[in-house]
């Protein structure tokens, strides 16, 4: 290896400024182009957003097509694994079904009672909202950022900030909307902070995503007496989300309170995006 200063600078110049035999651009020119692109991210103009949206739509669709071979292999392994677990689960399900039938009878009674009580206090039903069913187009399963790409965009009425549900469970919110696609930031992402309500204590707190681990509960009231197993719902504070959407269950890990999600965020396929406006919000 050559060590003199001249050769060092020649190597740097050659690496960054010289174009190779079949290279059309120098490295430096492309790095500058990348910096310009990054700077444009900060500019929020209508025409730029349109171009960005179109590029993203094209890349998302191509990404979906490129993922098909990989995605078709994984289910085969999953299916084989599932067959081995079926009988074991059948026994568990059978006993649970019996319990659920008993609970269903109780729930039916409570529902009727709830309707009667709501009439008395003149409250709106928290589950009375319109939603759009969307398919998860791409789930990159990155260890750093937790988000999924959905196959519907603002042509279907989706807007930034709308809550995303997996069945009845809250799993994230829309953070980017294109014409034909959108991105939902999942609740386990490090950048996700959601105001939550913990029942039956009625504590309000902030749920922070931690990546792969269960989400962390922050800003709990002082001298709280939180217990593992308590249920966590969206609080609706700030008027962004509907209150009372179930999220998960509190669990104690290393003396810190975490939330184990009801929904398996790595297995999202069809999700609901709530498009109704929350009464009193400016969504």
């Amino acid at each position: 290896m050559v060590t003199s200063r001249d050769d060092f600078s020649i190597a740097i110049r050659s690496a960054f400024l010289k174009k190779g035999v079949k290279q059309k651009f120098s490295l430096l020119a492309l790095i500058i182009a990348s910096i310009i692109l990054l700077s444009l991210e900060a500019i929020n103009s209508k025409s730029l957003n349109f171009v960005r949206s179109a590029i993203k739509d094209v890349i998302y669709r191509t990404s979906f097509i490129a993922s098909i071979p990989g995605n078709s292999i994984v289910p085969v392994f999953t299916k084989i694994q599932n067959y081995f677990e079926v009988y074991e689960q059948y026994e568990i399900v059978k006993s649970k079904l019996q319990q659920l039938e008993n609970q269903q009878n109780q729930i039916n009674y409570l529902k009727i009672e709830n309707v009667k009580l709501k009439k008395i206090i003149d409250d709106t039903d928290i589950y009375d909202y319109e939603s759009v069913i969307t398919k998860v187009l791409v789930d990159k399963k990155s260890p750093f950022l937790k988000s999924v790409i959905l196959n519907k965009g603002f042509n279907s009425g989706l807007k930034k900030g709308m809550p995303v549900l997996d069945g009845p469970y809250f799993v994230g919110r829309i953070t980017e909307v294109n014409y034909l696609s959108s991105r939902a930031l999942l609740i386990n992402d490090l950048n996700s902070k959601i105001p939550v309500l913990i029942e039956p204590m009625g504590y309000q707190a902030i749920m922070s995503g931690t990546g792969d681990k269960p989400a962390l509960l922050e800003f709990l009231p002082k001298n709280h007496q939180l217990e593992a197993g308590s249920l966590v719902y969206t609080s609706g504070t700030g008027g962004i989300f509907f209150p009372g959407i179930p999220i998960g269950q509190v669990e104690l890990i290393e003396k810190k309170f975490h939330i184990k999600f009801f929904s398996d965020l790595s297995q999202l396929y069809l999700v609901n995006v709530i498009t109704s406006k929350l009464i009193g919000s400016e969504q």
Binding site: A11, A15, F25, L38, I59, V138, K140, L190, G211
Partner: protein, 171 residues
């Protein structure tokens, strides 16, 4: 006819690194093992570093730039972050190529360590300082470590491919 076949085979093998790069950028296959997150590694870094170092005419800088943009869009990062990091890594590889007289896999591996460390630091600081996007640096450090560990294994596989490409060209 024989010439046509030779051209086609040679071209096909030369395109494999490029196809791998774009497949990784576009698809969900990311070698980020969901259950074994500590085993996730960044194959794109290895692809870029190896081929820019060994055969720069196969993997053009323009394609690396485009792959970065695609990766940013798919992951949901500000457009340009991956492009910069990929090009910096390519810069390291090109710089080493100009300085190295006698290349060897072990020497490349040693150089890959500071290259990827600087590249991932740039990636982390751009996201953290300029865009306030939180990244778990322990996961990133683990990913960097595993990528470094996998370099020789993937490097050996790529050297087979490089030999085939050279052979097909010389037939």
């Amino acid at each position: 006819m024989v010439l046509l076949r030779k051209n086609f085979v040679s071209r096909f093998f030369s395109l494999i690194p490029l196809l791998i790069l774009f497949f990784l950028a576009f698809s969900e296959t990311d070698f980020n093992f969901e259950k074994l997150s500590f085993l996730s590694f960044n194959l794109i870094y290895i692809v870029i570093f190896y081929w820019v170092l060994k055969k720069p005419d196969i993997l053009g800088y323009g394609f690396i730039f485009l792959a970065g943009i695609v990766n940013d869009v798919v992951i949901g990062l500000p457009i340009g972050v991956s492009s910069i990091t990929y090009l910096i890594l390519a810069g390291f590889a090109a710089y080493v190529r100009y300085l190295t007289v006698q290349p060897s896999l072990i020497y490349d591996w040693i150089i890959f360590v500071p290259s990827i460390a600087v590249t991932n630091s740039v990636y982390f600081y751009i996201l953290r300082i300029f865009f306030d996007i939180q990244i778990n640096y322990i996961t990133l450090a683990l990913n960097t470590g595993i990528t470094i560990l996998f370099y020789p294994v993937i490097g050996i596989l790529f050297s087979f491919l490089a030999n085939i490409i050279i052979k097909e060209k010389n037939v």
